[in-house]
């Protein structure tokens, strides 16, 4: 049974070099917890998108990583926190193609599709926290119609 060692961490997000550390930590943590290759790839990609959001839109912040359990399932929880301007319109921020920072607008909405659970808390002028969880060997997420 995997333990929390190598999974629990609090990493700063202050530069594009920190994005590299975030990706490498999430890859290692997901591997330790027993995620398969495709799920690892999705988690690392989601973490990269969310960490970049924290850096670009939130002015920097941190990622907290933790092993979580529910019933007998084991999961990886990643929380991205910043003390930036916050998001006024959450619906708009999550929609594909919306961008306030010159990107493709795939960051939040795209990351949400790559994980099993996604929650976003934001207060204008206070900051934003995005928390995601994926479970090892969870049933496939239901697909939306194309």
């Amino acid at each position: 049974m995997p333990t929390s060692a190598g999974v629990e961490a609090c990493l700063p997000i202050r530069s594009d070099m920190d994005l590299v550390w975030v990706r490498q930590h999430v890859r290692q943590a997901a591997s330790l917890l027993g995620f398969g290759l495709v799920e690892q790839t999705k988690l690392v990609t989601a973490a990269s998108e969310l960490a970049r959001n924290t850096l670009v839109h939130g002015g920097g912040g941190r990622m907290d990583s933790a092993r979580v359990t529910r019933n007998r399932a084991v999961g990886l929880q990643l929380a991205f926190c910043d003390e930036g301007p916050g998001i006024a319109d959450l619906e708009q921020a999550l929609s594909d193609g919306y961008t306030s920072g010159g990107g493709l607008g795939m960051g939040l909405g795209g990351a949400r599709r790559l994980v099993h659970e996604f929650s976003l808390e934001s207060t204008v002028g206070v900051g934003t926290t995005v928390t995601v969880v994926s479970w090892v060997s969870a049933p496939p997420r239901p697909r939306e119609e194309f």
Partner: protein, 139 residues
């Protein structure tokens, strides 16, 4: 401790010239700034050397996020304006699955399964065959 922490991140990506083709190999993890520098380097090298093709081997990349995906698409578009065609080679299946779920299918990007197939594709279609991302008929 995992090997992942020991692998160096790339701060600079070399651009190699092989005849009429530039060969770029991305490996490990890439700083955003290195990806942007690469975009400039490729543009400058095409302009000075007059190559007609660019092959970007991403078989060493464990992930491609929307930032790197956008850089690849911009390199292809920019190369096309400079009369060179771009082929992205060797994408891992897990990366392809992830990019589709992310919503980033990069329709203007030409791909090949490996570098050899990419070189074949460039040699077969030849320069000026008009099938670049901005060719007529493309949405």
């Amino acid at each position: 401790m995992s090997e992942h922490f020991d692998r160096p991140a790339s701060a600079h990506v070399p651009v190699l010239r092989l005849g009429d083709v530039l060969l770029v190999t991305l490996q490990g993890d890439l700083y955003d700034s290195a990806a942007q520098q690469l975009q400039e380097d490729i543009g400058a090298t095409i302009a000075t050397s007059g190559v007609t093709g660019v092959v970007i081997d991403i078989s060493g990349m464990e992930i491609v996020d929307s930032f790197l995906g956008r850089v690849l698409a911009e390199i292809a578009a920019q190369s096309s304006l400079l009369a060179a065609r771009t082929v992205v080679a060797g994408m891992r299946p897990a990366v392809a699955i992830t990019l589709v779920e992310l919503g980033l299918t990069l329709p203007g990007l030409r791909t090949a399964l490996n570098t050899e197939a990419a070189m074949d594709l460039l040699a077969r279609t030849g320069p000026g065959s008009g099938d670049g991302p901005f060719a007529a008929g493309h949405p």
